[in-house]
């Protein structure tokens, strides 16, 4: 489990540094793969047989395969803007993430002192905050979607650790929500591209009354 946590932290840190759309989505897929493995581990700790595999199987299909596939198709459409710029330096994102890592360990030590799952809980809070940070610091709509999914991964991981396996119905609902959110965001993004010829969300300022 500790190795998984270290791997996850590493992937998320890398995520903050990637500015290329496709690589960022591959990274997201990798991130979800780690979550799926963590899910499998937790599943075998608390249940047996097929039920233990279902959540991890679903994470695998939806987050590792489906969502990156949809997003990659969208990126394929956006051929005319290969240049990826952000007005905030990537170093700031990474530095902020480092701060968040400290902060999440402090919070976990204060709220749940001497818990067994200290590392993984802190990591999940770190992932949530970093995802949020990605949304705030990136201008491109697709990068913001990546941030949203990262945040969602963090929340899912936190839920998994705190409850030691959610009921199946709730898991289904969560996955459906994420899938729908991504579909809607993809539609919105392609509309944004059609209307403004760019996926830079700064153009939305024009909508202010």
């Amino acid at each position: 489990m500790e190795y998984l946590v270290i791997l996850l932290l590493l992937i998320v840190f890398v995520q903050t540094r990637i500015m290329d759309l496709k690589r960022s989505i591959y990274c997201l897929s990798l991130q979800a793969l780690v979550i799926a493995i963590a899910c499998l581990v937790v599943g075998f700790e608390h249940a047996e047989g097929f039920e233990a595999i279902i959540p991890s199987l679903m994470t695998l299909t939806i987050k590792v395969v489906c969502i990156p596939y949809i997003m990659l198709r969208l990126v394929g459409q956006i051929t005319d803007e290969t240049e990826i710029k952000s007005n905030i330096n990537v170093n700031y994102s990474t530095a902020a993430s480092a701060l968040f890592l400290l902060l999440s360990y402090m919070i976990i030590d204060k709220v749940l002192p001497a818990t067994a799952a200290r590392d993984i809980l802190a990591a999940s809070i770190f992932v949530i905050l970093t995802g949020l940070n990605l949304i705030v610091m990136r201008r491109r709509a697709i990068m913001q979607m990546v941030g949203l999914i990262t945040m969602e991964n963090g929340i899912y991981l936190l839920g998994l650790m705190m409850t030691e396996g959610l009921p199946l119905v709730i898991e289904l609902g969560v996955f459906l929500d994420v899938l729908i959110a991504v579909v809607v965001l993809v539609i919105l993004t392609s509309h944004l591209r059609l209307s403004f010829k760019t996926t830079d969300t700064n153009v939305l300022r024009k909508l202010k009354g």
Partner: protein, 662 residues
């Protein structure tokens, strides 16, 4: 099935007519008004029957889920006046609203039913939740009715102002209810009456509730919406708003004061009395300055609500200083005046609608001599004006007489000098108010109906169709009958106040007697009327026998024939008052001298006069300015960037996490 519930269903049916197809618009209108008339008739019948045959049971006690419907005799009194006004104004609306043919007439008819339904609903509500729900329905439906001619900019802005103000009022009432409910088991009125809250909280609840109801009743300084909203609405709507909706505020205030607060507190009574007196005096002063017929009536409504509230305040003071039996006269006065005012104000609004219908204008400066073109309307307006000016022999006098007796009782019974002084001041202000009201309606009637016509819009004036005359006629008859024979009404409403506990009645068939001041005061319209007839007969006979001569000629005017431009204008008529009260009114006068081509002959003068509402100018406008300034400062955080907003959320999240961890 209970007839009141049946009435509610019929109102709903009337409301549904707004969904009928546009082809049968006129039919939908007839159905809607018929529903309103039948349902209001049921309400009136049931409530009047309950008041005349008092019984131990409640008029209505039913419920559905969390919604409770209950009606006692206090509700029944107001149900009576709602039903009566509902019938008469709906009859009037049959013909009047035809002017809106093709201009969303179906919506007008449907909302008319919704409005009536909501007002009956407020009166029937048996718990705070139902009360607030129906109260809000009333606010929204009346807003939509005021906004009916939304193409006009002034209508739209008046309606919007009304919506904002009325929601502030609802918020205040909600605060009142919730503070009381914090010490009660449930939200039903019976439980709220047993609520245990500390005196401090009770005072806060009282102030909140008083503010909310005063706003709906249009008391100064919360009246600013009223003179704008009433002229903007279609006339039958303003008649219903002024005649009934303002009384619903009295009902709600009475519900709080009589049922929810245990015991009466002296300063609360003084507050209500003083606010009521100031409202009555200031608004009649503004009424006499206005040229718009419906604005005059709107200000007059504020005046009358002031009178009603000052009567309630007097009663509250009398209760708090231990003269519970004597407080009856003031409370009865408030109730009687509410009832009578709903009749006469509906009549006067209907008459103003008739004049607007005939001339197409609300400005009385353009009228004059209407009596020749519309004699019936003129007759009804005269009687309505007399009632609103509170002349004896009309019903407008009865409630004011009782209120004055309340003041007199307070003045003789109060122990402290300050209370006596207050009662004396109340007397003075009340007298001044009455005199100004008389002047105001002499001015209104004289300018609009008498003299020579001031513009050609009068010449195309015509008498009104049958149903409009019928509506006004019924109210006129009621004004006269209730003015001549006030006894039964006063006796019935006194029963409502005393709950049948006191056996002494103030009224008999000849008039009203009140002995609370130590000596007996008697008001007997029949005696007064017959003595007036005798006096007139004597004078008439003296002239006849004395052989006086009548010789008709043109008015002498320095050798020239008088033209219509030489008669008193409405503005001129009120000039002395404008000067005398200039320290209050602060009129804005502006004279611009425009020179003609010839420097030596005749200068052209442009003269502008405006009497702006000082409360709007001094209180609301600065407040609004500061609000807008604050908002524009706050608008800096609204940058239109989604990322920034998510950034706010992130900062908040981190702060919450850290704070939670601390």
């Amino acid at each position: 099935m209970n007839l009141l519930l049946l009435a509610l269903i019929i109102y709903c049916v009337g409301a549904i007519t707004m969904l009928l197809p546009k082809k049968i618009e006129l039919m939908a209108h007839y159905i809607a008004q018929a529903c309103a008339i039948v349902a209001s008739g049921l309400v009136l019948y049931k409530a009047a029957f309950y008041l005349l045959m008092p019984s131990e049971e409640l008029l209505l006690d039913t419920g559905w889920g969390v919604y409770t419907l209950q009606a006692d005799s206090w509700s029944a009194a107001f149900l009576c006046l709602t039903g009566l006004a509902g019938i008469v104004i709906s009859i009037y609306a049959i013909d009047y609203a035809k002017a809106f043919l093709g201009k969303r007439l179906r919506i007008l008819g449907g909302l008319w039913n919704v409005f009536l339904l909501s007002m009956v609903g407020v009166l029937l509500a048996g718990d705070a939740f139902t009360f607030l729900l129906t109260w809000e329905l009333m606010a929204v439906s009346s807003f939509l009715l005021v906004n009916h001619e939304s193409e006009k900019k002034e209508t739209w802005s008046a309606a919007f102002q009304y919506l904002v103000m009325t929601h502030l009022g609802t918020a205040a009432i909600m605060i009142g209810f919730f503070i009381i409910a914090s010490g009660a088991d449930s939200l039903t009125f019976a439980d709220l009456a047993r609520s245990k809250i500390s005196p401090v909280m009770q005072n806060i609840a009282f102030v909140a509730a008083f503010m909310g109801f005063a706003l709906k009743a249009g008391l100064v300084p919360l009246h600013v919406w009223l003179p704008n909203a009433h002229p903007a609405a279609p006339t039958h709507v303003s008649a219903l708003m002024s005649g009934v909706m303002l009384k619903i505020a009295v009902y709600g205030f009475g519900r709080f004061v009589f049922q929810f607060f245990n015991g009466f507190v002296e300063w609360q009574g003084i507050l209500v009395l003083v606010i009521g007196l100031i409202s009555a005096f200031l608004s009649v002063l503004y009424a006499i300055m206005e040229k718009d017929m419906k604005r005059i009536l709107a200000y007059s409504s504020v005046e009358n609500m002031g009178i009603i509230f000052s009567a309630i305040g007097t009663g509250m003071i009398l209760m708090s200083i231990g003269y519970g039996r004597l407080a009856m006269v003031a409370f009865t006065g408030a109730l009687v005046h509410s009832f009578n005012h709903s009749i006469m104000k509906a009549l006067m609004f209907m008459a103003s609608g008739a004049v607007m219908h005939a001339t197409g204008s609300k400005n009385i400066e353009k009228m004059g001599g209407l009596i020749k073109y519309m004699p019936w309307t003129a007759c009804f307006t005269l009687i309505g004006s007399m009632a609103l000016a509170a002349l004896p022999l009309t019903n407008g006098f009865v409630g004011e007489w009782l209120t004055l007796q309340g003041f007199a009782t307070l003045a003789t019974r109060a122990d402290g000098h300050l209370l006596r002084l207050l009662a004396a001041a109340a007397f003075l202000l009340f007298g001044l108010t009455g005199a100004l009201a008389l002047g105001c309606f002499v001015r209104l009637y004289g300018t609009a109906f008498l003299g020579k016509s001031r513009s050609n819009i009068v010449e195309k004036a015509h008498e009104m169709p049958f149903f409009m005359l019928l509506g006004m006629g019924i109210e006129t008859v009621l004004v006269v009958v209730l003015g001549f024979i006030p006894g039964p009404l006063v006796e019935t409403l006194q029963g409502v106040i005393s709950g049948g506990r006191f056996n002494t009645t103030m009224a008999d068939n000849f008039g009203i007697i009140w002995g609370g001041t130590g000596s007996y005061a008697i008001f007997s319209p029949i005696l007064l009327g017959s003595s007036l007839i005798v006096i007139f007969l004597v004078i008439y006979l003296a002239y006849k026998i004395g052989g006086s001569f009548v010789y008709q000629d043109v008015t002498w005017n320095c050798g020239t024939y008088p033209t219509e431009r030489q008669q008193y204008t409405a503005t001129g008529f009120s000039k002395p008052l404008r000067r005398a009260f200039s320290f209050l009114l602060k009129p804005k006068r502006e004279a611009i001298y425009l020179r003609k081509e010839n420097a030596y002959f005749g200068k052209q003068v442009q003269y502008k006069l405006a009497v702006p509402d000082q409360f709007t100018e001094r209180l609301y406008a600065p407040f609004q300015k500061h609000l807008v300034m604050t908002a524009s400062v706050l608008r800096k955080i609204q940058q239109g960037s989604v990322r920034l907003y998510i950034g706010y959320a992130m900062v908040a999240l981190i702060i919450v996490l850290v704070w939670g961890a601390m």
